[in-house]
Amino acid sequence: MPNLMDDPKLTAYALGETDALTPDERAAIERELESNAALRRHVEDLHAAAGRLEAELQAEPAPGLSDAQKAALEAELKPGVKSGRKRQVTPLPVASRFERRLAAGAVAALLLVVAGLALPVLTQARRQARAVKTFAGAEDIYRRTEYDRKGVLEYSKTASVYDEIYDPSEANAPKAEYVFGDDGGIKLNDAFIFQGFPFDGIQRTTPNTESYASAKPNPFKSVRGADAVSTFSIDVDTASYANVRRYLNGGQLPPPDAVRLEELINYFPYDYAPPAAGDAHPFAAHVELATCPWNPRNRLAKVGLKGREIPWENRPSSNLVFLLDVSGSMNDRNKLPLVKQALKLLVEKLSENDRVAIAVYAGAAGLVLPSTPCHRKADVLDALDKLQAGGSTNGGQGIQLAYATAAQNFIKGGANRVILCTDGDFNVGISDKGSLIRLIEEQAKGGVFLSVLGFGMGNLKDDMLEQLADKGNGNYGYVDSEREAKKLLVEEAGGTLLTIAKDVKIQIEFNPAVVDAYRLLGYENRVLAREDFNDDKKDAGEIGAGHTVTALYEIVPKGRYAELVGADPLKYQEEGALTSDAHHGEMFTLKLRYKQPEGETSTLMTQAVTDPELGFEKASKDFRFAAAVAYFGMILRDSPYRGSGNWELARELASEAKGDDPKGYRNEFVGLIERASALDPKSNP
């Protein structure tokens, strides 16, 4: 074979397309390759070129179908759809332009239904005006609707779409032309009840599309047998507090599922001592015990962890990739503009050894700023300045691009992190949530962690964002103001960016000789099985430099459980056999496991705790304040364990434990209790 160098067959061979060759051709190529080094190099070159082309092409963002198109396909797949309807809602590509608009109108009409339900105070005249206007802009709006696989048509951004579509000047626009026909089953009646749309139904539990995972408060557990052990993963997220604050400041009580006790408690900095200089452990654990303020016959135990503080100038270099949602819904003042402000604060704080890249996603993902060292800070700030919102969301590809960029610029021993900023529309264009989470988990194992910053309101996918940050060894914060941005990205930048220990788990074994029952406050979605504690494969929470993590237990002392749950004491059974250790008066043993940020095996810390029998008023300010925050959360959740207390108790506990409060966070909290109390119909009958 004289000219194999330039033979398509050799290319096919190099690309592994041996099926495209005859056995003879293949054998001839292999013979030649054995003796010809130049040809072998050539094949390697072909390989490399193909690899690069493949990598670049596969990183290219794919737009995917619009949500309405997917909805239409979904309608097609529904069994038992009657023929007449389908035509109306399936924007077939072959349909005329008018038909397509009509289909768009169908979706828009459904939006109106939801909007109408959410805002029932509208007059009929305004509704009609809106219907007309909406129809004109239907295509635009229907791109922002979101149809998820469960058959729930969600309505995004109630308030601002509403503003966009209602224009009083249009109130007298001709409407006869646009009346929805009866034939298609699309009806817009007075009550805004929508009929004939081939979906299973409209699910509308809250007045917007924010979604929260629901979790029942942890119950009291009797200290007998296996239940004597409580195991959970730490959590440093703070989003829930900022979100609750947003609700209260907006004049509304938050939905109970938006209230996560541990995130309220951990929002506040506590004055715990960091590990001593020579201490091998990256964090110190402190336990405090005193009377439970809302149930004085019970004890309250506080476990406080404090991460080692690393002076900002001594921290390892950071390789950060900002992944920003620039979809249309991010246009509001409290979204993209705030994101830009927040990130600028962080960039200002970075030093020349740090790197920043900016990736955006909307209809497609793209790299706005390749990884740039921070001695060119002006370029980074400039790129942030230029960002604009527009388009629909496709988070899936954006996150791949962000991780690829982080991997390309990986700093060994540094802080490698993707920081995702979004209002939560993150489920379009990803084949499924499971594979997204797998991707994030894999990347976290590879050393690229994920922080999630939630912005805006009305569409916050709180449950999803929390889960992403959790799987990505990261933290989840909610940014409702520049002040909050400062707290997360400037004051606590070390904790947010520098992980000092990962997979931190807490296990407490209670002593049945002293304790009858106990209850972990919050951490509902962080509870682990007893055996998970020693299983280093089980993922858990991370702790950052200088971070504090606090957990509270309400403990029922011996002899009171039966009284508490209203059950009679057992007639035939006494407590089981106790070990000799049970008789030393210890209340519980605290065990902690953690891994170094780049380690694979965990280290164990153990501490036995005896109740000093302190009254509540003798406890530290931090203890009392944390108790106040927990109690505030319990009232917001209307927890069955809130005892006899009320808002006034929470306010009293908090205002007496404000301490120095240099940043005013605790003072603000007292204000929030007052607001919540004023908003609660039960406190103002």
């Binding site: 099926d19 670049e56 209809g363």
Partner: protein, 196 residues
């Protein structure tokens, strides 16, 4: 499900009647999840804009709804790309009849296909040089290279999708790759990174 009354060009009456029971839904949904992105990307290159491409892809899936899995015989991907391609070419022909494109417009069209925000477009040059080089190749080479390297189709699959012979596909890929390599090699600063 039937669509009587909707005259759908390019669809025989037989296709229009669904052979699928409720169980087929899962199969189509999986195909949508796996291929909506790739197909839209592919179609966008053929028709020149994303909106038209989405319509093409949606119609492709609508046809899949009416297709029995058994008939596809495990060749779903190939079938999707082939149907998508034919539909895209139809659309392109129709569009051309309506607004005849000049030579330069036609060349520019595929680039306009990207729906990236303007900022992303501006910066794209610095990040994607090989893609820029790819844009310069003749359409036939671009298409085949994309099918091979972006969508992972084999020579044989590409041949069936594009209705070319396997050896013709081989020549197009060889020639395209050769041109790209020729233009790449002088840029030594570009660190080689094998994807494998």
């Amino acid at each position: 499900m039937d669509t009587q009354g909707t005259a759908e060009p390019g669809m025989s009456g037989e296709e229009a009647r669904s052979p699928n029971g409720p169980a087929a839904g899962a199969w189509v949904r999986a195909a949508v999840a796996d291929y909506e992105g790739p197909l839209t990307l592919y179609a966008a290159r053929l028709v020149g804009n994303v909106e038209a491409a989405r319509d093409v892809v949606q119609e492709t899936f609508l046809r899949l709804c009416r297709q029995s899995p058994a008939e596809l015989n495990g060749r779903t991907r190939e079938w999707l790309f082939a149907v998508c391609r034919n539909r895209a070419l139809d659309v392109r022909r129709k569009e051309k009849r309506m607004t005849p494109l000049t030579e330069t417009q036609a060349e520019r069209a595929p680039q306009a296909a990207s729906p990236a925000p303007p900022e992303a477009l501006e910066k794209r040059e610095t990040t994607a040089r090989m893609l820029d080089l790819l844009q310069e190749l003749p359409d036939s080479q671009q298409e085949v290279l994309r099918l091979k390297f972006q969508h992972g189709l084999s020579y044989k699959e590409i041949a069936r999708v594009t209705e070319l012979s396997v050896s013709h596909v081989g020549v197009l890929i060889h020639t395209g790759l050769k041109t790209l390599r020729g233009q790449m090699i002088p840029n030594a600063e570009f660190g080689m990174r094998n994807a494998k």
